[in-house]
């Protein structure tokens, strides 16, 4: 049997969830004997392969039009989609923005910040347009939710190990945390 193909990507995130993934430490060596990390934001290849992967992992919240594309592409190219971390699962810290108007938030961030001089709200065509922040499951169907800010390395390892055993991981006890 070949290795199980896995791809990860991040949206509006602090990278903490990916750090926590790396925090599984030397266990990653054993894991890599069973899985192939095809593409991640922290390796050379950034986009999940067109031929698809078995497991897709998304961290971060959806907060602009580019993220919508990333989420949809990952959903199309993976069999099992995992939302990893509070931002992907609930919207998390990023969704604090939703308690304000988008214009209000952008003005505050790019113009009114105390240290900003002659600030300007970015408006290049090349950039994704900010949208109301939402969790991944509010955009596409998600198969496995792993909350946590970030989820612990043990939780991530547990979830991947369960999948490799052919089971859908059920988070209980210390594996289920929102902070």
């Amino acid at each position: 049997m070949g290795k199980v193909k896995v791809a990860t990507d991040w949206l509006a995130a602090c990278a903490g969830c990916h750090m926590s993934f790396l925090d599984i430490d030397e266990r990653i060596v054993g894991l890599l004997e069973k899985i192939e990390l095809t593409a991640t934001p922290i390796t050379d290849l950034k986009h999940p392969p067109e031929e698809g992967v078995t497991v897709g992992i998304l961290t971060g919240a959806v907060n602009n039009t580019t993220h919508l594309e990333v989420v949809k592409r990952m959903r199309e190219r993976c069999k099992i989609l995992i939302s990893l971390g509070d931002c992907a699962v609930f919207g998390g810290i990023v969704s604090m923005r939703n308690f304000f108007d988008l214009d209000e938030a952008l003005r505050r961030a790019y113009v009114e910040t105390e240290s900003t001089v002659d600030g300007q709200i970015p408006c290049s065509e090349e950039l994704g347009k900010p949208i109301r922040v939402r969790s991944v499951k509010d955009v596409v169907e998600v198969d496995i939710h792993i909350p946590g800010c970030p989820p612990s390395a043990d939780t991530i390892y547990y979830a991947l190990s369960e999948l490799l055993e052919g089971r859908i991981p059920v988070l209980t006890g210390d594996n289920l945390k929102y902070d």
């Binding site: 609930f90 939710h145 059920v170």
Partner: protein, 568 residues
């Protein structure tokens, strides 16, 4: 007591008729999850988290309000009950801001714990992100409406426990908000800052400014002790971490039933007066640190053959107070007094309890302002009024109870109030230091009929009176004046009186006007470093437990007096 047969989750048990499903289950060791329920508060079934399946009932029923009857069969974790419970939790989480990762309560939150218990790994429903206000107008704690689940524990605590009726709710449905008085900011409301609402809040909606983000329940230590800031002597749970007091909570098992007041819960943590940490002696006009031996030698030398006077703060614990009397009165022949009245001149019974107030139908308050000085007792009086008791207030000046009294008499009309009291079934007389001797004699006619609660101005006034101590200025003419002040406020007037003596010793835990003019300053333990007991206004000897170790250089009061006595 009638018992009924109850079947809960297949267990056949006996439960008290009329008890709730929740109580019966608890007796049987079955844990039904709750959120709006609090053991000290009346159940209102607001949150629906405790829904259980009751045989022959069409709908699920809240365990906290549903009474058990003969033959009742209950399933607490049936698929239907669990599904409903999860639905309730989902709705609660999606309603406002319940993002745990940046919440102060994360780790100690009852809502979060329930979500963990029921394995909530995502939210089914979208969040509307309503922008609710945060009210920071109160000095000691903050209300974040975004974290509020409208369980109304705070509302019930405010009305049922403290009888203050500041909190209520406004608007309807998803717009419902906790509100103060006629919808004013909390800081401008009739709130008395007792903090009972803060203590019962299950989420991060009410946040203590001082201890916020300072440690979770598993990271902090707590010690049960007693408040020494008035003669009620409320039971406390003092929470500490790394040698610091983080916050004070009321002990639910104490006679105060979990309630404390601003003077016990918040003010001591905001005391900014300089602490006295080591013995000091005035040398060339300046106070300079010295060793205990040097300070005590100097005091003993000055005391020999001199006319000695000594005052003690009436909050000193039994051990300290007894030794104080033994050494200064017994050994040094000093004139000893307390700084506050011990009500010794009033020939009246004392020792009535807070429980007596609960059972009272008529309460006569004279010569005292409990809502200003013994607040928890004041709240208890108001609670009794809510249950139908009549309040007869006898006071000439301003009195915080005036707004709640049914009859307000001038002191000259005390006899009128006494006459009404005589007609009561369970009257209680609450008197304080402003009561005149001749009026006390009039009140004495109620002896045997009424319970008497003496509001000693200082925590240990009861014991001070037993020791024969009185206040007064009797010791003012002394050559050597010893002042055991602990942490009482050092007024300019007291400093002026002290100055008349040739040699002044101030034994205090905080610096002030008296330590400023003293010849020797001795450090006294802080309130959270004291250990021993005192007698509260009910006449009960209650223990004060040391919360934090006494720092190097500070010696407990009674030991200081022992060491001094050895030199006399």
């Amino acid at each position: 007591m009638t018992m009924v047969n109850v079947k809960i989750d297949g267990h056949q048990i006996q439960a008290r008729a009329g008890s709730t499903v929740l109580e019966a289950a608890k007796e049987a060791g079955i844990d039904i999850p709750t959120l709006c329920h609090h053991p000290a508060l009346a159940n209102i079934g607001a949150c629906r988290v405790c829904l259980v399946e009751v045989a022959k009932q069409r709908a699920l029923q809240p365990a906290c309000t549903f009474p058990v009857t003969e033959g009742i069969e209950i399933e607490t974790e049936s698929p239907r009950a669990v599904e409903a419970r999860k639905f309730v939790l989902e709705m609660l989480f999606s309603e406002r801001n319940h993002y745990c990762m940046y919440c102060e309560m994360s780790g100690d939150c009852e809502l979060q714990n329930l979500a963990y218990r029921y394995g909530m790994d995502h939210w089914t429903y979208p969040t509307p992100y309503p922008k609710m206000p945060v009210d920071g107008t109160r000095a000691y704690f903050i209300m974040d409406h975004n974290r509020c689940i409208l369980c109304r524990r705070c509302v019930r605590a405010c009305s049922d426990l403290v009888a203050n009726h500041t909190l209520g709710v406004k608007a309807r449905g998803a717009n419902t908000m906790i509100s103060a008085d006629m919808d004013v900011p909390f800081g401008e409301s009739s709130c008395v800052n007792c903090g009972t609402c803060l203590q019962v809040c299950p989420t991060g909606a009410l946040i203590d400014r001082k201890s916020a983000y300072m440690g979770r329940e598993v990271q902090v230590d707590s010690v049960n002790s007693t408040c020494t800031f008035c003669s009620v002597g409320c039971g406390l749970k003092v929470v500490t971490r790394a040698g610091r007091v983080l916050r004070v909570e009321g002990d639910w098992d104490g006679h105060n039933q979990g309630v404390v007041c601003v003077a016990g819960r918040f003010e001591p943590l905001y005391d900014t007066r300089e602490p006295v940490t080591e013995p000091m002696m005035r040398k060339n006009g300046q106070l300079e640190p010295v060793a205990w031996d040097e300070a005590l030698d100097a005091i003993a030398r000055k005391m020999k053959g001199a006319k000695v006077g000594a005052y003690a703060a009436g909050k000193a614990l039994n051990e300290t107070l007894s030794e104080f009397v033994k050494v200064f009165q017994g050994k040094a022949g000093a004139d000893v007094h307390t700084l506050e009245s011990t009500l010794a001149d009033l020939d009246l019974p004392a020792g009535g309890s807070l429980q007596d107030l609960d059972a009272a139908d008529c309460i006569l308050v004279v010569g005292a302002d409990p809502l200003a000085n013994q607040r928890v007792l004041g709240y208890r009086i108001k609670r009794s009024l809510d249950k139908g008791a009549r309040l007869l207030l006898v006071a000439d000046g301003e009195n915080e109870l005036a707004a709640f009294s049914h009859r307000h008499f001038a002191v000259s009309d005390l006899h009128e109030a006494i006459r009404i009291c005589e007609g009561g079934v369970a009257p209680v007389v609450v008197f304080g230091a402003d009561l005149k001797r001749e009026d006390a004699r009039r009140l004495a006619t109620l002896t045997g009929k009424a319970k008497f609660i003496a509001l000693f101005p200082a925590a240990n006034g009861f014991r001070a009176k037993e020791l024969g101590l009185t206040n007064g200025t009797g010791a003012d003419g002394a050559d050597v004046l010893y002042l055991l002040l602990e942490d009482v406020v050092q007024t300019e007037a007291l400093a002026r009186r002290a100055k008349k003596a040739k040699f002044v010793v101030a034994h205090a835990s905080r610096a002030g006007a008296v330590t400023e003019i003293a010849d020797v300053v001795l450090p006294a333990p802080m309130w959270y470093e004291k250990e021993g007991s005192f007698v509260n206004l009910e006449g009960n000897k209650i223990d004060v437990t040391r919360v934090l170790p006494v720092p190097d250089g500070v010696i407990p009061g009674h030991e200081v007096f022992n060491r001094l006595a050895a030199r006399l």
